[in-house]
Amino acid sequence: MFLRSVTRAAARSSAVPTTGLRSYRTVSGPMACLNARPQTEKKSIAPQQTRAASEHAISNPTLAGIEKRWEAMPPQEQAELWMQLRDRMKVDWHQMTLQEKKAAYWISFGPHGPRSVPPKGENLKIFFKVAQLTLVSFGIFYIIHMFAKPQPKTMTKEWQEASNEYAKQENINPIYGISSVGYEGKGFVQSPPAEKQ
């Protein structure tokens, strides 16, 4: 047990983050590239920043009312708190306090960010806007349609009835269609009579 604590403490001490946000850059400073030498000359150990499991519970006041405070917290604080909770989740979860469990669950799955509950009436607003735009598009279609050429002369009931006779004469559709035995469908008729147009 003692040995485990020591190794964890060592790992922590070598990995104190410079900012609250997690960074996987090597520990060497930002100017390190200027002093860089080929790897063969110096066998330097470049430890990755890691965080070990934390056995210290996060204090209750830090987590109290997180649901109300979370959205207003600056991103850096959010990241800090979340990293702490993640470290806590690395230990046996039975050791976590109820407050920690609740906070970890809420931050992961709670109704905030993309999961936030939409404001009241938003769905209705979207529905009405979409309906309005659909009506406008129908209107535009109708206006364009007013300038269209008239339908061709074949689009009358009389012509299409003549088409039926013509098709029978030509033995068109003898299996299932107009020329078939016992056919009862409308054949090519689909338009109203000429005088009604």
């Binding site: 799955f109 061709p152 002369k153 074949t154 009389e158 012509w159 009835e161 003549a162 088409s163 039926n164 006779e165 013509y166 098709a167 030509e170 033995n171 068109i172 559709n173 003898p174 299996i175 299932y176 269609g177 107009i178 469908g185 409308k186 054949g187 090519f188 008729v189 689909q190």
Partner: protein, 253 residues
């Protein structure tokens, strides 16, 4: 009611209002295509119902109220992955084999008794019957233009009628040799189950065996310019006797 609509509008020979299915078949090729289509539709129905059932079950069971914790780290399962990889592969094999069989059967040109040469132009088809020549060594040759709307006789089909139809005998192996003079066209006739691209400088071929007399319409099926829609194809199949009479008329005429 839906079945009535299907019965009334599908499986027709020339295009009909609101037609959604094949035109009546008039050749063994088209019969084969229809059969393959029906077989594939069977698999499609099985897949559709299975996937729909799975989706409904997922939507029903994995809602926030029933399953509040998202298992966002559970992303791998060897058995289920094997199942959903091997099953579609198996279905694809079941579809592929009859498909290839039909493809190669259709590709085969049976020892034809008659050759018709069809050439696509912007925007009409021209035809030659090189098997028959008259005393002056001329063979039958004609152009086939669309009949414009103003010249249609009552009852004729708009955008489908032509001034000179291709006449072929029924129950005769016929070879269509297809080419183009200017741009790429495509010679297609749904009832006969043919659709062959017509390339300038190349010859394509399609085998046709019409099993009943009738008139079959098709259209150019490769965008070939502004009047692409105005170069229809009308093929009329007649008895061998009538074909010979027509042939004599053409030779003498």
């Amino acid at each position: 009611m839906f079945l009535d609509i299907l019965k009334g509008h599908i499986l027709l020979d020339a295009p009909t209002p609101w037609g959604v299915f094949f035109q009546d078949n008039a050749s063994p090729q088209m019969e084969g295509i229809e059969e393959l289509h029906n077989n594939i539709m069977f698999y499609l129905a099985v897949i559709l119902f299975t996937v729909t059932w799975m989706m409904i079950i997922i939507i029903k069971n994995f809602v926030a109220t029933k399953s509040p914790i998202a298992h966002k780290y559970m992303n791998h399962g060897t058995l289920i992955e094997l199942i959903w990889t091997i099953t579609p592969a198996f279905i694809l094999i079941l579809i592929a084999f009859p498909s290839f069989k039909l493809l190669y059967l259709m590709d085969e040109v049976m020892d034809p008794s008659l050759v018709v040469y069809a050439e696509g132009h912007q925007w009409y088809w021209s035809y030659q019957y090189p098997d028959f020549t008259n005393e002056d060594d001329e063979f039958i040759e004609f152009d086939s233009y669309i009949v414009p709307e103003s010249d249609l006789e009552e009852g004729q089909f708009r955008m489908l009628e032509v001034d000179n139809r291709v006449i072929i005998p029924e129950l005769t192996h016929t070879r269509f040799v297809i080419s183009a003079a200017d741009v790429i066209h495509s010679y297609a006739c749904p009832s006969l189950g043919i659709k062959a691209d017509a390339y300038p400088g190349r010859l394509n071929q399609a085998s046709v065996y019409v099993n009943r007399p009738g008139t079959f319409f098709g259209q150019c099926s490769e965008i070939c310019g502004i009047l692409h829609s105005s170069m229809p194809i009308a093929i009329q199949s007649v008895s061998i006797r009538d074909f010979l009479l027509w042939l004599r008329e053409q030779m003498e005429g």
